[in-house]
């Protein structure tokens, strides 16, 4: 990534924007939605918040225009230049202009407004072009990017956080906003000795550690885990999930929150979800599960709920009879309540608060007691 000469950035964390006019290519609410979603992308990874103005001078003025439009950087008709934007500052600085000779669309049949707007707003916030082709801030429009599965690259996140830092609880109330600034917890500190996890799952050889709105991706060979907002991979998956596990034979991770669960393959949320956990065989009285993992060798999935566990037969796709059973009976030494669990190298790793228990299923005993975050190289 790179920033503009002198690294100009906004001195305040609450910014205003105004959509000055609209393209005839899209309904106005579609333009509004694209811009709002684009701003949210940056909100997710910074302390910045945005509110909309309908008149007057906003920090970021958003305009559709053709040809020469008063800034000495004329647009060029259809193709090539799609839009441009100015680095943070007063007046025209921070503004974003879109070439209305393009065919702006919600999908990818034309030029996707959301993707271009997210890029341009990156400039409005102080990012210059990146030479990383994976980055949103790479200068060329990528027709292969699916706007529904869009996520910032680590390069983009590192770039914007080099200017504004990670998300924090915001205290600078906007002078012009009609609504209070939302307060959002910042990203968790992976080396916090009190760190606990919502859920842990494997995914295609990586291990994912979920916490609130975020998760860490841990590659076995990588030296440093990477933190991402859940929404950057799976926009429809809620934060604060209860449990997650991978069924390797299906190349699918199942994610649970409350009485619903989702299936994801890579970064695609599968159609037909969320489903009710009752479809797995849980009675309606079960409101949520605490943790789950799938024993991919034995084709069994274990669901942990308070001091009991249930076992699901992946071959027969039914809950096994005789369950629930007491956790303490079959997993001696494991806490009666479990936050998260996953399987690695033939061991089951149970998480509760800041502690982690390594359980040997063959010896049927706890073999190590670890800190929850020891997988994160802390």
């Amino acid at each position: 990534f790179s920033t503009f000469p002198g690294s100009p950035k906004w001195k305040k964390h609450h910014l205003t924007y105004r959509i000055v006019n609209y393209t005839p290519d899209l309904p106005e609410d579609a333009v509004d939605a694209a811009i709002e979603r684009a701003l949210k992308v940056w909100e997710e990874v910074t302390p910045l918040t945005f509110s909309r103005m309908h008149e007057g001078e906003a920090d970021i003025m958003i305009t559709f225009a053709v040809g020469e439009h008063g800034d000495f950087f004329p647009f060029d008709g259809p193709g090539e230049i799609l839009a441009h934007a100015f680095a943070p500052g007063p007046g025209i600085s921070g503004d974003a202009h879109f070439d209305d000779d393009e065919k702006w669309t919600k999908d990818t049949s034309g030029t996707n407004l959301f993707l271009v707007a997210t890029h341009e707003l990156g400039h409005s916030l102080g990012l210059r072009h990146s030479d990383n082709p994976e980055a949103l801030m790479y200068p060329l429009y990528n027709t292969l990017t699916d706007p529904n599965r869009f996520r910032l690259s680590q390069d983009d996140v590192a770039g914007i956080q080099s200017l504004y830092g990670p998300p924090t609880v915001s205290t600078d109330a906007p002078a012009v906003s009609t609504k209070p600034v939302p307060t959002r917890p910042g990203p968790p500190d992976m080396c916090d000795p009190a760190l606990s996890f919502d859920a842990v799952s494997t995914l295609r050889g990586e291990t994912l550690f979920f916490k609130g709105r975020y998760f860490w991706r841990k590659y076995l060979r990588a030296s440093k885990p990477e933190l991402y907002p859940i929404s950057s991979f799976w926009p429809s998956i809620p934060s604060g999930i209860d449990a997650a596990y991978e069924v390797k034979s299906k190349d699918t991770v199942f994610i649970f929150k409350g009485q619903q669960f989702w299936a994801v393959r890579g970064n695609e949320v599968q159609a037909g979800y969320p489903r009710s956990i009752q479809t797995l065989g849980f009675p309606p009285t079960i409101r949520k599960i605490d943790a789950a993992f799938s024993d991919n060798d034995r084709k069994k999935t274990y669901f942990f709920l308070e001091d009991k566990y249930w076992r699901f037969d992946e071959k027969r796709q039914t809950m096994e009879p005789g369950f629930p059973k007491k956790i303490a009976e079959d997993f001696p030494g494991v806490h009666p309540r479990v936050d998260a669990v996953f399987e690695a190298f033939g061991f089951f790793y149970f998480f509760r608060g800041s502690s982690q228990l390594e359980f040997d299923p063959n010896a049927k005993k706890v073999t190590h007691i670890l800190k929850s975050n020891n997988w994160l190289d802390c």
Binding site: L82, A85, L140
Partner: protein, 82 residues
Amino acid sequence: HPLDRDPGGQGSIMDFVQQYLEKYYNLKKDSRLLVRTENNGLIAEKIQEMQRFLGLKVTGNPDPETLEMMHKPRCGVPDVWD
């Protein structure tokens, strides 16, 4: 030299390359006079800079792959600044 009347020929390609480099890679406009000479060092250097930035094979020439990338839709903000 009738390069300007040679649409699609090497002359118009070099004009396009030069304009692209001026817009996005900070090629000074007064170097336009130099581009008519083949293997002009400044232009080749700028092409290499662009190729490196865009992740292309660095040849210093506007080869077909480079030209294809240059014709792709893009953001109008320059990639490099003075």
